[in-house]
């Protein structure tokens, strides 16, 4: 049984003023196995963060779950009461490193107090014990607790803040950590260090990790499996190597081609044709067809089913029949 299983999840952002509901996730299904790092890749607006927040049950109005289930060890965590979820799951079993972690800290609180505050929210009031645990996780993230504890957030560099945010997510020793773009605002050298840290957390602590990113070129450095999202729908799921070496879905193919390597010739790097989808417009059929060079008539009217191609999930009509 997978550790986490998302089944047919639908999430909408309701905008009553405009009399519309934006569908952010449309029938998303994916599994996360215990002990793995799985990466969720997609462009802005593809639903990556919405998926993360849905798993954490941190979606706030106007976002609403419109159907589907999220099973954690077989328990549908969407059916639990908020109280029970917060007590037994949130941060205890599943925690999160939110997007733009540089800005999640309270500027008036010392780093130490962020740890105490987090522990207090989960009913742990023994300060000495919390600080001992906080020191452990800070040391694990290669920070010096004695120094960092008494600093204010503005006294830390971007990379250090990211490490503190990761340490905070590990405070209650969770089984699963969701990291939302943990390297987005960092330069490449710091990014490399954070990727190494994430791998180390996975290997040494055995923590399962969902790693969300818009940059498919860092995925092979970190994840064993990858889920490609586009416009709120899964396009392709499979082992990282297979997906990158031989992308099956035309979107994955275009995504891989759009990112230059240090040895790419200028001709082989191509932008994905057309414009990213407007979330306010409902696209009939496959969401990628307006930009797809393989688009057929059926793509414009019918949503592709989930096809199994060499052990991979691919949602594309090219693989039908």
């Amino acid at each position: 049984m997978p550790l986490l299983s998302v089944r047919n999840l639908n999430v909408e952002y309701r905008l009553p003023d405009l009399k519309i509901a934006v569908k952010a996730l449309k029938g998303v299904s994916m599994d996360v196995n215990k002990g793995e790092i799985v990466s969720i890749v997609g462009e802005s607006g593809s639903g990556k963060s919405t998926l993360a927040l849905a798993i954490m049950r941190m979606l706030k109005p106007p976002a609403v779950v419109r159907g589907g289930s999220i099973y954690y060890n077989g328990v549908d965590i969407l059916s639990l009461s908020e109280h029970e979820f917060n007590l037994k799951y949130k941060w205890v079993k599943v925690s999160m490193v939110p997007q733009a972690s540089q800005n999640i800290f309270n500027p008036t609180m010392r780093i130490k107090d962020h740890f105490l505050d987090t522990a207090r929210a989960h009913g742990i009031s023994d300060e000495a014990e919390v600080l001992k645990r906080a020191s452990e996780v800070l040391e694990f993230t290669k920070l010096d607790p004695a120094r960092v504890f008494n600093l204010y957030p503005h006294q830390l560099s971007g990379g250090m803040k990211q490490r503190v945010a990761i340490a905070l997510s590990l405070l209650l020793n969770p089984e699963l950590v969701i990291m939302d773009e943990p390297t987005a605002a960092l330069d490449v050298v710091t990014q490399m260090e954070i990727l190494k840290l994430v791998k180390m957390i996975n290997e040494e602590l055995g923590t399962t990790i969902i790693f969300i990113t818009h940059d498919i070129s860092i995925v092979p450095m970190i994840a064993s499996r990858v889920v490609v999202l586009y416009n709120g729908e899964v396009m392709e799921i499979g082992p990282t190597e297979d997906v990158i070496v031989d992308p099956k879905h035309p979107y994955t193919k275009a995504l891989v081609q759009s990112i230059p390597s240090l040895s790419s010739s200028p001709e082989e790097v191509r932008p994905i044709p057309g414009e990213p989808p407007n979330p306010l417009e409902d696209i009939q059929g496959c969401p990628f067809w307006p930009r797809c060079q393989y688009a057929m008539d059926v793509c414009k009217v019918e949503k592709p089913g989930e096809y199994n191609v060499n052990g991979r999930v691919v949602r594309c009509h090219l693989y039908g029949k």
Binding site: D187, V188, D215, M221, I244, I259, P260, L262, S264
Partner: protein, 278 residues
Amino acid sequence: MGSDEYLVELKDVCVYFTERVGLFRKSVIKALDHVNLGIRENDVIAVVGESGAGKTTMGRVILGLQKPTSGLALFRGKDIYSLRGREFEEFRRSVQWVPQDPYSSLDPSLTIGEQLMAPIRRWNPKVNAEARAEELLKLVGLVPPSFYMNKYPHQLSGGQRQRVAIARSLASNPRLIVADEPVTMIDSSLRIGFVNTFIELMRRSSLSLVFITHDLALARILLLKSGRGRIVILRNGRIVEEGDVNEIINNPKDEYTKVLINAAPDLKRWLKNREEGV
């Protein structure tokens, strides 16, 4: 003073910031340390380095926004910080800026058309501002322009906003654009589209570009596609390497350049290593 061979030239520029440490002690941060750089007409310079290397400070000196502690910043051979009146106007018109964050660089209370027409009227009162604004939107790939003219920034995506910021930087018909991490906030799959836009802009008019980034692979593609220019690697306020991009990437002399190259995510290198079983 300097020669006017260069559009903008930095000569032995130092920018030091003093920071108070505790009550009495001060420490000096050398944001730029004896930097020399010449930017010609139709030049392309990609400035690469990690956070804190001095990339933005260098951009600000070129833009006349940061006075060097010592050394000279010259515009057509004259000290930028001594320019007055007409001469300063000419400098300001000629050297423009595309900032990093398109979420904070546009005025939220103005429509896209208004943000573009204001600088057009400021610099060129005689032209039809509306027609020129639509032309600029077309140049940066926002078509049809009429669709964008009456929109507010919050109605556009991050990528579209950054295109507006580029269009705005063109309003004064500049000779040089300093683009400070213009694609850092943009999805990696969209970045190549921005490189193509800059290439197209340079192809259409005589325009120099200083492109500040920490994405080495993207800087390389920009230089190869434009068929000229060079890369400058900054570290701790110093230029540690400067020259032809392929030569530097294939044969880095400086240790730090090697670190940058190894840290750059690279799908092709990953594939190659995988085939060779590394």
